[in-house]
């Protein structure tokens, strides 16, 4: 039904062709997953099909794109506009930015119908309400009149899907449609896409970087690497026995869902202990807007961390897990409670005591770009902590250079600035900076969520390795249960600021007791798929 052949896209930059010899077909009622890491050109391929490339810098230099036998590249812009939305539609990654914040949901669906159909006003409204019902939006009539910011992220994505489906298009291109969503919402959205696609026989080109999602939804898989398709074939075959080394590498990097075996209760000393932490964000109303209710971010939270142990804090967005990491490092003042490091309380420490205590508890941040001062060289970034603690500058710099090799970066990296590194390398710098203080505990707040899977695997391996060699304790905050399974000895599951379940990872994952934990575990994409053990060349 839909095919591209020998598609070449030209652009300036790191390679002469952004896409090279790109042949892909999507059949009727088929879901084809286009998989690749960042920079592989997968979003570019989608935009090329929709003819939404930023021409003339990036254009299709050779090849054909056809939909039902019709060559899209030969169409005029006006003919193309008639096809977009009508016979092919797109679902974007971030529904908040893809929807116009100034218009109601109903208006935006109505616009699609107004442009492409001859329905009258009442007919359009009826159709819009019907499609909102089809995507399982509770109370379609009230959502119809709501503005995008008034509905939740999952509902916004449903609205996007409704807009894409309302004209029953032949082809839908979904560009990472669930990446910005929580796992439980992701599961519902994936199921919705699959159900509707089966009912309408639509072909879907589904772009993703997540092999779990692929395992969940794909009929066929195409793997893209630096603009070239390295492998494509039926989903079952590629997921079970990938042929190309790059595909193998990608699949091998997917963390297996098998947590480490439960360790016997160790006699290791207690390093970090949190007792009944509590944090409420007072919502500051203006003089005129009246009072808003304060938000309870963390409610009566306690945990213990022993030496050499890794404690995972898992939960969905808004569960308060990031607040926990900020309170424990006292970047955020808690309302009450204690955080003890080797018996010394961090929460009640004075300014000078705090400075000494900070040495023992260090943090690795989520966004490796934002957490490194862009105006400082790497060696200064790493040595900064020890210098503040009173170490002589040349000693600290020498130590910083040693740490670079510990995090597997070349010595030449010392003299460079953060923007010259890739995401994974920057995160290594962040880890080196934390290690420079020779801490007892490292608090890692989603340290790998901004990274590609293969890079993710390396950084996780490095963290685990350093933890074992240096007898560190890790407090690991993550939304990704696969990552938690990989690294954590124990987990606490948080929901709405409270711990709903805690225990050794193996036990919690095998026998979740709380319904929330169970739904989280059920929602892991591709949970039934066991990644094959491949030999990575």
């Amino acid at each position: 039904m839909f095919a591209t052949s020998r598609l070449l896209c030209r652009r300036g930059g790191d390679r002469p062709h952004a896409l090279w010899d790109f042949n892909l077909t999507v059949g009727e009622g088929e879901i084809v997953c286009l998989v690749g890491e960042s920079g592989s050109g997968k979003s570019l391929a989608a935009n090329a099909v929709m003819r939404l490339l930023p021409e003339p810098h990036v254009r299709v230099s050779q090849g054909t794109i056809s939909l039902d036998g019709q060559d899209l590249l030969s169409l005029s812009e006006a003919e193309m506009r008639a096809i977009r939305g009508d016979r092919m539609a797109m679902i974007f990654q971030e529904p908040m930015t893809a929807l116009n914040p100034q218009k109601t949901v109903g208006w935006q669906i109505d616009e699609v119908l107004r442009l492409h159909t001859n329905l009258n006003k009442a007919g359009r409204k009826a159709r819009a309400l019907e499609i909102l019902g089809d995507v399982h939006i509770p109370a379609p009539a009230s959502t119809y009149n709501a503005y995008p910011h008034q509905i939740s992220g999952g509902q916004r994505q449903r609205v996007m899907i409704a807009m894409a489906l309302v004209l029953k298009p032949r082809l839908i291109i979904a560009d990472e449609p669930t990446t910005a969503l929580d796992v439980t919402t992701q599961k519902q959205i994936l199921k919705l896409i699959k159900d509707l696609q089966q009912a309408q026989g639509t072909g879907i080109l589904f772009i993703t970087h997540d092999f779990g999602v692929v395992a969940e939804i794909a009929d066929r898989i195409a793997v893209l690497r630096l603009g070239e398709l390295v492998e494509q074939g039926p989903a079952a075959q590629i997921l079970r026995s990938p042929q190309h080394p790059y595909t193998r590498k990608l699949i091998a990097a997917v963390p297996a869902l098998t947590p480490p075996p439960e360790k016997p209760a160790s006699g290791e000393p207690l390093v970090l202990e949190a007792r009944s932490l509590r944090k409420t964000f007072a919502a500051r109303g203006g003089y005129l807007s009246g009072k808003r209710n304060p938000v309870i971010a963390v409610k009566d939270l306690s945990f213990q961390l022993r030496r050499g142990e890794t404690l995972g804090v898992v939960g969905e967005s808004g569960s308060g897990k990031t607040t926990v990491s900020r309170i424990v490092t006292r970047l955020l003042e808690s309302d009450s409670g204690e955080v003890r490091i080797d018996g010394r309380d961090l929460i009640s420490a004075s300014k000078t005591e705090l400075r000494a205590l900070r040495k023992d508890i260090q943090m690795v941040f989520q966004d490796p770009m934002a957490s490194l001062n862009p105006r400082r060289r790497v060696v200064e970034l790493i040595a900064q902590g020890p210098i503040v603690q009173g170490v002589a500058k040349d000693v600290a710099h020498a130590r910083a250079r040693e740490l670079l090799s510990l995090v597997e970066l070349p010595p030449a990296a010392a003299e460079r600035y953060p923007h010259e590194f890739s995401g994974g390398q920057r995160q290594r710098i962040g880890i080196a900076r934390a290690l420079a203080m020779e801490p007892r505990v490292i608090v890692a707040d989603e340290p790998v969520s901004a990274l590609d899977v293969s890079v993710q695997a390396q950084v996780l391996k490095l963290l685990a390795d350093l933890r074992d060699r240096l007898h560190l304790s890790l407090l690991f905050v993550t939304h990704d249960l696969r990552v938690a399974a990989q690294l954590c000895d124990k987990v606490i599951v948080m929901s709405k600021g409270e711990i709903v379940e805690a225990g050794p990872t193996a036990r919690v994952f095998a026998n979740p007791e709380h319904p929330y934990t169970r739904s989280l575990l059920d929602s892991i994409p591709g949970r039934d798929w066991e990644p094959p053990v491949c030999n990575v060349a």
């Binding site: 790191d14 890491e37 960042s38 920079g39 630096l226 590498k249 900020r326 490092t329 970047l331 705090l354 400075r355 000494a356 900070r358 040495k359 260090q362 943090m363 941040f365 989520q366 966004d367 770009m369 934002a370 957490s371 490194l372 001062n373 862009p374 105006r375 900064q384 902590g385 503040v388 603690q389 090799s405 597997e408 970066l409 070349p410 030449a412 990296a413 003299e415 460079r416 600035y417 923007h419 010259e420 590194f421 890739s422 995401g423 994974g424 390398q425 290594r428 962040g430 900076r433 203080m437 590609d452 293969s454 890079v455 390396q458 490095l462 990575v536």
Partner: protein, 308 residues
């Protein structure tokens, strides 16, 4: 936020560690300024500004070589027209003082006033804006009320008041200009700080035990400076204008040949000897123009979203 990651490094690493860094070995500080210069050079107007600025600086530097002697001494017959007498090529004023000499020596005064007043106003603005933006809350509230108090009084009226109270020596004038023009830089620095203090690298520094003052001035300030540098050119142009306006009203320091003084005195003979006020007027115009053109060019060059 998108990362300003347009360089070589955005590609994922190969599986095997250690990670190689495929970058040519070059001196980074040097390339940075080179890139800036290349971007600046592309803007023709900015180049014109730079040329004018260099010309003014040369005038100030060579004043004693080209037009030696006191610019306030009598150097010819009064009100000589320009281009008539070889020793007074730009003519003389009603007291017979050489206008060319006045312009060259006046360049020194104007530049000095511009630079010193700008340094004073930017320094006050940076400290107040940084403290207000970083700490927020009550401190911010208090400092911003003070700023607003200054902003509600028209700055020139405040300047007149200060000069009327403290006298019109050149030092007082410079300090007074600095005091009336710090509010805009303060607001600008505050806005920059409010967005930068939420960035993770600030948390990272706090987590290392870095003190607040050190975070403000060594971590955040370098990142907040580019727009301030650009704005400094506006402040500098304004300072020169303010000094001229003061001198025009007869409140300048009479012991120095400033351009404003020359216009102020030339005003009396404007209908018979236009050149007495027009020549220094053009000098002020071109100098102020040079600053604003350069400022605009710097703004473009320092904008990180621009390609090299």
């Amino acid at each position: 936020m998108t990362h300003p990651d347009t360089s070589v490094a955005s590609r994922p690493l190969p599986a095997a560690s250690p990670a190689p860094i495929a970058l040519p070995d070059i001196d980074l500080a040097q390339t940075r300024s080179l890139v800036l210069w290349r971007r600046f050079r592309r803007n023709r107007a900015a180049l014109l500004g730079l040329i004018l600025f260099v010309a003014v600086v040369l005038m100030a530097a060579l004043a004693d070589v080209v037009t030696p002697g006191d610019p306030l001494r009598i150097a010819g017959s009064p009100l000589t027209d320009p281009l008539t007498v070889a020793s007074n090529p730009w003519g003389t004023d009603q007291l017979g003082r050489d206008i060319m000499s006045g312009i060259f020596h006046g360049a020194r005064i104007s530049l000095a006033i511009g630079v010193v007043a700008t340094v004073i106003s930017i320094a006050i603005g940076v400290v107040i804006g940084a403290v207000a933006g970083y700490f927020g809350g009550r401190i911010d509230g208090a400092l911003m009320r003070v700023t607003e108090a200054f902003q509600t009084i028209p700055s020139f009226v405040l300047l007149l008041t200060l000069v009327a109270i403290f006298g019109s020596s050149i030092e007082i004038i410079v300090i007074a200009i600095g005091i009336v023009s710090w509010t805009a830089p303060a607001r600008m620095v505050r806005a920059e700080f409010m967005s930068l203090r939420r960035r993770e690298f600030v948390d990272a520094a706090r987590n290392l035990g870095v003190s607040d003052m050190s975070i403000i001035f060594r971590e955040i300030l370098p990142n907040a400076l580019p727009p301030v540098v650009v704005f400094a050119s506006v402040v500098m142009a304004n300072s020169i204008l303010m000094e001229s306006a003061l001198a025009f009203l007869g409140l300048g320091d009479p012991n120095y040949a400033s351009w404003g003084n020359m216009i102020g005195q030339g005003r009396a003979v404007l209908r018979t000897a236009w050149f007495c006020s027009v020549i220094p007027g053009v000098a002020i115009l071109l100098t102020v123009l040079s600053f604003s053109l350069m400022g605009e060019g710097l703004n473009d060059a320092l904008n990180p979203r621009q390609k090299r």
